[in-house]
Point group: C2
């Protein structure tokens, strides 16, 4: 039975996609069959792992809205044991198109239920908002992983996100729990970066991952080659950060 982990934070540019691609790829390399689902209309996870979102193909829009079988949209990536359910720019209209549709928050849930037997882990990348698509991600998830940038504004939005998670736990998905909080783009030389890290650790305690992803230019170069960091530059600081994060993620599975 596969586990569904949704990666979300409505603050923009905090490393959701970078974490979705690199955590799923590094977990896959350890030979766990892994699926990455991209539900962001920007389709950055799709392009960052090497697939042009403008190319015609069966995608998440067809699966969520037209009822296409998910297996028809799933593509193997060049990373062993990692598959992708790609996004499309056309998803941007979904939020408005579906207003009033019965069960529109459970569309992704219905999809992942058909996939749990085929993958050990299913990661979901979300857009920077708390709208219908992110809500689908939270309703479909077993746990939610929250990337938090080591920046001032990153703290501001956490309250809103936790409220939304709480609302989903009360109603649409009572089993939802927090997988953890992963600090991203940390720069040990900056006072602000270390202050935010301390504040997050105090606030989230054991839920805050001890692994911290440091700022590393190789992580921002990798998507321009369509590769996860482990395939682009396995020796880089960025690859080591996500290897540590994958190890911690896997060890937290057996403990829980």
């Amino acid at each position: 039975m596969g586990k569904v982990i949704t990666i979300t934070n409505q603050k923009g540019g905090v490393g959701k996609t970078t974490t979705a691609i690199n955590l799923s790829a590094t977990v896959a390399i350890a030979e766990f069959p892994t699926l990455l689902i991209d539900i962001d209309p920007q389709a950055n996870a799709t392009s960052g792992i090497g697939f042009d979102p403008r190319q015609e193909r069966i995608n998440i829009y067809d699966v969520l809205i037209n009822g296409t079988a998910p297996h028809e949209a799933i593509i193997k990536t060049e990373t062993p044991f990692l598959s992708l359910l790609p996004s499309t720019i056309n998803l941007v209209g979904a939020e408005v198109e579906l207003v009033g549709t019965e069960g529109r928050e459970r569309m992704l849930l219905n999809v992942v239920e058909k996939l749990r037997n085929d993958f050990k882990f299913i990661f979901v990348d979300c857009p920077p908002s708390l709208g219908l698509l992110t809500l689908n991600g939270l309703v479909a998830a077993d746990t939610v992983l929250i990337p938090v940038q080591c920046e001032y504004y990153a703290l501001e939005g956490l309250g809103q996100l936790l409220n939304t998670i709480n609302m989903v736990q009360q109603g649409l998905n009572p089993k939802l729990s927090i997988e953890g909080v992963l600090m991203t783009m940390h720069d040990g030389r900056l006072k602000l970066s270390n202050q935010i890290l301390t504040e997050i650790r105090n606030y989230f305690g054991e839920k805050a991952y001890s692994t911290v992803i440091s700022r590393n230019v190789r992580l921002s170069e990798a998507p321009s080659y369509g590769k996860p960091i482990i395939m682009y530059d396995a020796g880089s600081t960025g690859a080591r950060s996500y290897m540590d994060a994958a190890k911690e993620f896997l060890s937290r599975q057996t403990n829980s």
Copy 2:
């Protein structure tokens, strides 16, 4: 007659709020009466300039949705000649609440029409999406300023943004034009950063601002003190970048 400049880019974390606060503050310092309108439910521009978004006060939600007179919501900031129309977390529900409401794309337009005689420049900060709130920003605007981060994913979303701007020009706001494209978080030491800069300049030509905002930690520290960079550390690289950007913005007004 005041000019309305909307600052937008649906890619998250590219420097929309940092540009909205610091460009408006630096233009205000030159003694142009300036208003900053925050239509992002994250309310980062509101908190970044020193006002707690959780505090009860008249805000953009009341003005847009309850029909409160905009002057009742406008507050003076500590920066001379700079006022703020604050946002609120409650705005997050607006997109769903207003579906089907006649003229919901023109709510902000109706507001700015009442303010044009009081301010020389009105800047609008948008959320990271192409939803109803950003659409309001584009319909209300004379011009749109596009911050672009010097990163790979930043290029990906520009096509979608230009399509949306084009759609608005065809229909709801034929006078809309592009104010310019401002490169942000540039790091001259990084090959990727310089590559993106060259690509943007080639693509946008004269519309690309010659001023480039370099990455500078003082810019990310300033919001934690609730101050624009010009008030937090006027001697910093970040302050000089935005002073250059303000000079270029003002010189482009007389030329156009």
